[in-house]
């Protein structure tokens, strides 16, 4: 049997290749994120002060929603075309494969969000020295979301229920991320100390990394009956 690392890497590579073939999937959450962030000024009006007040909140809500929506399809196409069957039947440990898929998911959704997040800082007229904090929190938060969300995605994959159930499952788990994340950025924008928030986000990520793959694997076996 091929080695564990080989299986994991092949999984990551396959999913990235798929994204590459359909750049639409990559752009999906990104476009959504940018859309939400640009629609707000349109709907609310151009008052600079109001915009500054809501900048961090809008960014984080947009990022959370973008991730939630993209999670819906994380295992769906594999379920529908039968390749999930093949993954489940493989002698490779399933948590590892699930982690591979999650990593590829983050690289194709969270990472682009992180890259464009500075743009938001400018649009909402936040002070420019918030940029690094914004990028770090978004990176940590989206990675945790990918992991936690993969559990929800695995649980709901066979149910043909759209994303409602998934959102309901994942949202309570994601709420702390939203609150810490937005708060950290706001604090940084107001020139106040913000390291506490960053530490919490990092701790959350470590926990998710240790537990989520196993939960996801178990959920996949149950869902694919």
């Amino acid at each position: 049997m091929p080695g564990l690392a080989a299986g994991f890497l092949a999984m990551v590579q396959r999913d990235l290749l798929l994204v590459w073939r359909r750049p639409g999937d990559l752009l999906n959450p990104l476009v959504f994120f940018i859309m939400v962030c640009t629609l707000f000024p349109l709907a609310i009006g151009p008052d600079a002060e109001v915009l500054r007040d809501i900048g961090a909140g809008v960014t984080w809500v947009a990022a959370l929603l973008a991730m939630l929506l993209s999670l819906n399809t994380l295992f769906l196409s594999d379920f529908e075309d039968g390749s999930l069957d093949q993954l489940l039947l493989s002698p490779q440990p399933l948590p590892l494969l699930a982690l591979g898929k999650t990593l590829a998911h983050w690289m194709s959704t969270g990472l682009p969000l992180m890259v464009v997040s500075p743009m938001i800082v400018l649009t909402y007229k936040l002070p420019t020295d918030v940029v690094p904090v914004m990028m770090v929190t978004v990176a940590l938060g989206t990675a945790s979301l990918s992991l936690v969300g993969s559990i929800g995605a695995a649980l709901t994959v066979g149910l043909h229920r759209g994303s409602t159930l998934l959102s309901l499952l994942v949202l309570p788990l994601a709420m702390p991320l939203l609150i810490f994340g937005a708060r950290t950025v706001s604090l940084a924008a107001g020139d106040e100390p913000y390291f506490g928030g960053l530490n919490l986000l990092a701790a959350y990520l470590v926990g998710a990394l240790a537990l989520a793959p196993f939960a996801t694997a178990a959920a996949l076996r149950i869902s694919n009956e």
Binding site: M1, P2, A6, G7, L9, A10, M11, Q13, R14, L17, L18, R21, R22, S77, E80, D81, G82, S83, D85, Q86, L87, L88, L89, S90, P91, Q92, P93, N224, E225
Partner: protein, 205 residues
């Protein structure tokens, strides 16, 4: 080395209905089991249970005397599954799909290109699976079996959508595999490998 796959008292319920009850069979290396039964008799469900995609409601499945259900993971390397769905990502070509699956299970040592040629898809090598015709997709997923170095082939209706040549191909692939000491379990509505020794299991009577 010969192996033995044995099923005892398998049964499965769906909704209120008992699909099958107390099915027994035994299969050794080099044997082929044909599964027959009318539409809706539970052939697909039985096969999915055998390779571990769903759990039976009752019964024991054993490999060389060891209970498979006890620790499925140890036996995954022994089964390969060919069902109604291709199991391929339709945006990738067959070759790319197969190259990925190389990393998932033991390989037969055959070359991917060679397998694709053998299945008559040489001209379609550049096309994503999505653009293949119904029969070409079925052929492509046959390559998975050919490339895997796995003991038991579990096959659901292999003749679907295939032309006469494709059906001949399936028969010769299965015959070869069994000839090399593999096992195969095939659900089909058609006859297969006439005149050669096959076991038959009828369900749903």
């Amino acid at each position: 080395m010969t192996h033995k796959l044995k099923a005892e008292r398998l049964s499965l319920f769906r909704g209120e209905r008992c699909l099958f009850h107390s099915i027994d069979f035994a299969l050794e290396s080099g044997e082929l089991l044909l599964l027959r039964g009318p539409n809706g008799s539970g052939k697909t469900s039985l096969l999915r249970g055998l390779c571990g995609l769903l759990d039976f409601d009752d019964g024991i499945l054993s490999w060389d005397g060891e209970d498979i259900g006890r620790n499925r993971q140890d036996f995954r390397a022994r089964f390969a599954w060919y069902g109604h769905k291709t199991g391929f990502k339709s945006d990738l070509t067959a070759e790319e799909n197969l190259r990925f699956e190389r990393h998932l299970r033991a390989a037969s040592g055959r070359d991917i290109r060679e397998a694709i040629d053998r299945l008559g898809l040489t001209r379609q090598r550049q096309l994503p699976v999505r653009s293949l015709s119904a029969g070409q997709q079925r052929r492509a997923s046959l390559a998975r079996l050919l490339l895997s170095g796995v003991d038991v082939w579990v096959i659901d209706e292999p003749f679907t959508n295939l032309d006469a040549e494709g059906r001949g191909l399936v028969e010769s692939l299965v015959a070869e595999h069994v000839g090399r000491g593999g096992m195969a379990i095939v659900a089909t509505h058609h006859d297969m490998l006439d005149g050669q020794p096959v076991k038959t299991l009828e369900i749903g009577q």
